[in-house]
């Protein structure tokens, strides 16, 4: 099918349509909005994307957002390297850090197991997690995935996978709103959930 739009317009629509949560209709709307606004405004967006892509990367150790090779948390040698808190996304680290209850390190899976979305264990940073457990003499892994179905399934998967590989595997205590996201839990609740974590046997 040939496009009704000029090639650059169609390309812009296609690129926008690849973003999460942006359907073809929204992609079209955003594209025409960008064509309409002042050139300076559109360029600021383009520059911001380039800046972020150039300067911000994922931490080569924990896959948190980082400037340079390693994130601030991995670079901080006051943090206990023998405890790993496994989360789904970098934003979940922010939620856990806000509790001020946790002094260990993190590992970001970059998602949760969800066959509907085509995400299996091989799409997550699980291989890298296993390598860290091997190399960093980790004593405890805290499974801090979201308290929804996919998060629970991912936690169960990991607890089975890590059995025998780490002395202690724990899961944050229930009490978090079921079906919710970690990032929406308030500090006090999440802090208590961390404190009350239990050893899991999968």
């Amino acid at each position: 099918m040939t496009s009704v739009y000029a090639k650059p317009v169609q390309e812009l629509i296609d690129e926008l349509g690849r973003l999460p949560g942006v359907g073809p209709k929204s992609a079209q709307r955003i594209a025409f909005h960008l064509l309409k606004v002042e050139k300076g405004d559109a360029l600021r967006l383009a520059t911001a994307i380039i800046e972020a892509k150039d300067r911000v990367t994922f931490c080569q150790r924990c896959f948190n957002i980082a400037e340079g090779g390693m994130c601030a948390l991995c670079a901080d040698d006051r943090r206990d390297p023998t405890i790993l808190c496994v989360v789904e996304e970098p934003r979940d680290i922010v939620a856990v850090e806000k509790t001020q209850e946790y002094q260990g390190r993190y590992h970001v899976l970059q998602g949760a197991i969800s066959p509907i979305d085509g995400v299996g264990p091989e799409q997550l940073r699980i291989r890298e997690l296993l390598a860290r457990i091997d190399g960093e003499s980790v004593q405890e892994v805290i499974l801090c995935t979201n308290p929804n179905l996919e998060g629970e399934a991912t936690a169960m998967y990991l607890s089975r996978l890590l059995r025998g590989l780490v002395p202690k595997v724990t899961r944050i205590a229930s009490g978090l709103p079921v079906g919710g996201d970690l990032e929406y839990a308030d500090e006090l609740t999440l802090g208590r959930a961390l404190e009350g974590r239990r050893e899991v046997d999968g």
Binding site: P115, I116, G120, E122, A153, Y157, R160
Partner: protein, 359 residues
Amino acid sequence: MRLDRVWLQDVRSYATADIELSPRLTVLLGDNGEGKTNVLEAIGWLATLASFRGAPTESMIRQGANSAIIRAEGEREGRALLIETELVFSGRNRVLLNRQPLKRARDLLGVLRVTVFAPDDLDLVKGGPAGRRRYLDEALVASHPRYDALQSEVDKVLKQRNALLKGAQGRLQEEAAFTLDVWDAKLVESGGRLAEARQHLLDRLHPLLAQTYDAVANRPAEVTARYVADWADAGLAQALVTSRRDDVRRGVSTTGPHRDDIDLRIGGLPARTHASQGEQRSLALALRLAAHHVITDVTGSAPVLLLDDVFSELDPDRSDALLENLPVGQTLLTSASGLPPKATPDRILIVRDGRITLG
């Protein structure tokens, strides 16, 4: 729970209608196609946010109108109840409860409860297992709202499990098998709980079902209802192991609570295949009434009973028997064929030409 008055504006055949209801039995009389059922449908919408005819909500808006308004006034748990809703073509339907706007229409669920019996309910007996599972699940949620979350969890687990099976394209790699173990465990956990809850509910329904059937059937007969799960003997965990090969080959979950059924029998014979249409209809009505009794019992207040065209296949004696055995609480009933001889409804309304008048 009681509705005293219902106002409709631009709802299906009605430009406006102002309907006063009896706290006991109100009968809507009128020829077919005059719009009796539309009144029950509108009241039902307030309870479930959906048409019990399975029609899209937009289709309840009168032709040419932009929106429809359903307003109902009554009593719930000793306090005044006022529900006001505006149904729109696109966007959100607006709902006010006691003059307070609700953030989400869904928050209205559970405020008003209804039991509906409609001619389509013959499918409960005659149709496939899905309708019978829905019957149990709806009664579960009506008596214990928390089962809503369990049901949607089971649905989600099955969707994830099926996506994994489908993705395997007939051959399960070792890695995927390990992931499937996790979804199996989730299905055992939530699916097992759902099946157990359905089983308990059916145990409770069973004696009531026999009783109500005797009241509304032409010939008394022994009625039995048994929960059937092909995995019950082995247990769900073992059944999933056994069926895994099949599941992978076919790319779907071939066993679990989503395949269960109720085995309904009249006089020892399967009702779906061996009963007459009259018996099947009596049994369908008995199923609805039995659930109504259980929900009344568990929640401590009777849902509003909406009986659509219930006399059409009951003979006059059985129709009288039904009216004599009406459960406590409020009933609305439609009929195109008049009333049985001994009927003494508290209020008769005549529906004609889009208008409702006192009979």
